[in-house]
């Protein structure tokens, strides 16, 4: 659909747009209040940070889903999956003490890990099953 065409906004669209607006405002206020010079003042970094935080949230949700599904025990036999689990699902003290540049590096890593995970899952033997799910296709569209 061309960007200029009208479409029927659903409640989901409205919620997503409202969430984006409020998240953008919160990110701006946080950046201003902590005085993070590399974040404050730049619309590019602010919108990028919002996107990265969404990627981190999506990655955590995806990992939790897989972990709690019947495939969880199988997935955990994979070392890479266990690494992701350790990195993103286990609460870490470091997250609270990260500097803003460390936080950016961490979030960019999360975005890369999410893209790799989506590629692996999509190409694997169960890829057909994953792609039948709308949520999975949405993530693929968003990050691949």
């Amino acid at each position: 659909m061309a960007e200029n065409e009208f479409y029927t906004p659903t409640d989901l669209d409205r919620l997503r747009m409202e969430n984006e607006l409020l998240a953008f405002e919160v990110r701006f206020l946080k950046a201003r209040s902590v005085g993070a010079p590399e974040l404050a003042g730049s619309p590019i970094s602010l919108s990028r940070m919002t996107h990265l935080e969404e990627a981190e949230t999506d990655l955590k949700l995806l990992l939790s889903r897989i972990k709690n599904s019947p495939l969880g025990p199988v997935a955990r036999t994979n070392r890479s999956f266990r690494t992701l689990e350790d990195r993103y699902l286990k609460p870490s003290e470091d997250a609270m003490t990260m500097s803003s540049s460390q936080r950016v590096a961490y979030l960019e890593g999360a975005e890369r890990d999410l893209a790799l995970l989506l590629q692996r899952l999509g190409r694997g033997p169960l890829g057909v099953l994953f792609r039948r799910r709308k949520n999975f296709r949405t993530l693929q569209e968003r990050y691949l």
Binding site: Y7, P9, E25, P43
Partner: protein
């Protein structure tokens, strides 16, 4: 949630003259209040469905009680006869006149008094209701007739495919004469709705206007451009003695209405689509209020780029727009665009030569969710001329 239309009607506060005013037999649905009806517990209920509050007895009305939602009720003040502007200012200046804005009116017979008060408070000529007889019972009939004449239905539905330039040109020209007192996109909602919207928008914009002026010396004129100025209501948000306010609009009718409202300001018609008829770096501030979201992406891009061009380095660009679209968007004239998409567009249009100064979400009183947002950026660069 679509803003709902409430059945509203004028309310007349007649105070000591309530019996006299009741005897006149004002036409239409209305309420007349005496001085007992405006005690704090009653006032809120009495004004709940007021489309406008006509204060015929200004001496006894408790203006300080108009707080919360009640401050959105448009006011019409009948000034007492036989008083000069100095006396009226000293008695009603802080209590009443200072709270009058673009959507309020003053009923006064004496042209000299009106001219002096208008100059002091920056009111526009349209805000005057000229009454021949200052006595409350007679003035009430004249005010009622004036309000009745302005309350004709203004609904104009969208016909055929929406094409922004044509639609807003035609709509502006058609409505300029009928409703030179309302925001064009809220023209069907009545004055109270318009005033409420304006109050919320002003609460967000006014501090940013002041911040844009910043530390600029008072004797240096502040050059402001509003894109999509409509009837020019935002000119009232500036001290026009120290500001050169310019508005540009696509509708010739709106330019005419705005010029009549603010003769000391300049209003131009946007003749060539999306090209602002001004030189590079002409303004300290360029802003738009609920304009961009009515335009498709290429037009938004062109307008932002033009606003950036005409703003001086170090100057501000501000956008108060809707970044959330509700269900009604399918039948309205809004092109939905999220704030992040808009920021991407802003960066593209300005080649990233901007710094984000302020972000603020805006929730309107009639909405169940947050849909508006203000983005303020400053322009990077070195001035071409000094």
């Amino acid at each position: 949630m679509m803003p709902t239309q409430r059945t509203e009607h004028p309310v007349y506060y007649a105070g000591r003259f309530s019996d006299d005013v009741a005897d006149v037999g004002l036409p239409g649905n209305h309420n007349i209040l005496s001085d007992w009806d405006v005690l704090p517990p009653q006032l809120s209920a009495a004004l709940e469905r007021a489309s406008v509050l006509v204060v015929l007895d200004v001496f006894s009305f408790p203006f300080e009680s108009l707080t919360g939602d009640l401050q959105d009720v448009p006011l019409v003040l009948l000034l007492p006869a036989g008083s000069d502007a100095g006396l009226l200012t000293s008695v009603f200046g802080l209590a009443a006149f200072a709270r009058l804005g673009f959507f309020d009116r003053v009923a006064v017979g004496d042209a000299g008094v009106w001219a002096e008060l208008r100059r002091r408070y920056g009111w526009v000529e349209r805000q005057r209701i000229e009454v021949e007889d200052d006595r409350p019972e007679h003035a009430a009939a004249e005010i009622s007739a004036a309000l009745e004449a302005e309350s004709a239905p203004l609904t104009r539905s969208l016909e055929g495919d929406y094409e922004a330039d044509r639609y807003w040109t035609e709509r502006g020209d058609a409505l300029a004469g009928l409703a030179p007192d309302r925001a064009i996109c809220s023209v069907n909602h009545g004055l109270r709705f318009n005033k409420a919207m304006h109050r919320v928008q002003a609460s967000v914009l006014s501090p940013q206007f002041a911040a844009a002026r910043g530390t600029q010396a008072e004797e240096v004129s502040f050059d402001v451009l509003e894109v999509g100025a409509g009837v020019g209501r935002w000119a009232a948000g500036f001290d026009l003695a120290r500001t050169r306010f310019t508005g540009v609009d696509i509708s010739a009718g709106m330019v005419e209405a705005a010029s009549a409202n603010f003769p000391e300001c300049r209003f131009d018609r946007l003749v060539e689509a999306s090209i602002l008829p001004y030189g590079d770096e002409s303004f300290d501030l360029a802003f738009s209020v609920t304009v961009m979201h009515h335009n498709p992406t290429p037009t938004k891009l062109a307008l932002i780029s033009e606003m950036w061009r005409v703003t001086r380095p170090g100057g501000r660009l501000m956008f108060l727009e809707d970044f959330v679209s509700g269900e009604w968007s399918t039948t309205s004239t809004v092109y939905p665009m999220s704030v992040l998409k808009f920021v991407e567009l802003l960066v593209e249009a300005t080649a990233g030569q901007v710094v984000l100064e302020h972000v603020e979400s805006v929730r309107y009183p009639h909405d169940g969710f947050t849909r508006g947002g203000l983005l303020s950026v400053s322009k990077l660069g070195v001035a071409k001329t000094w």
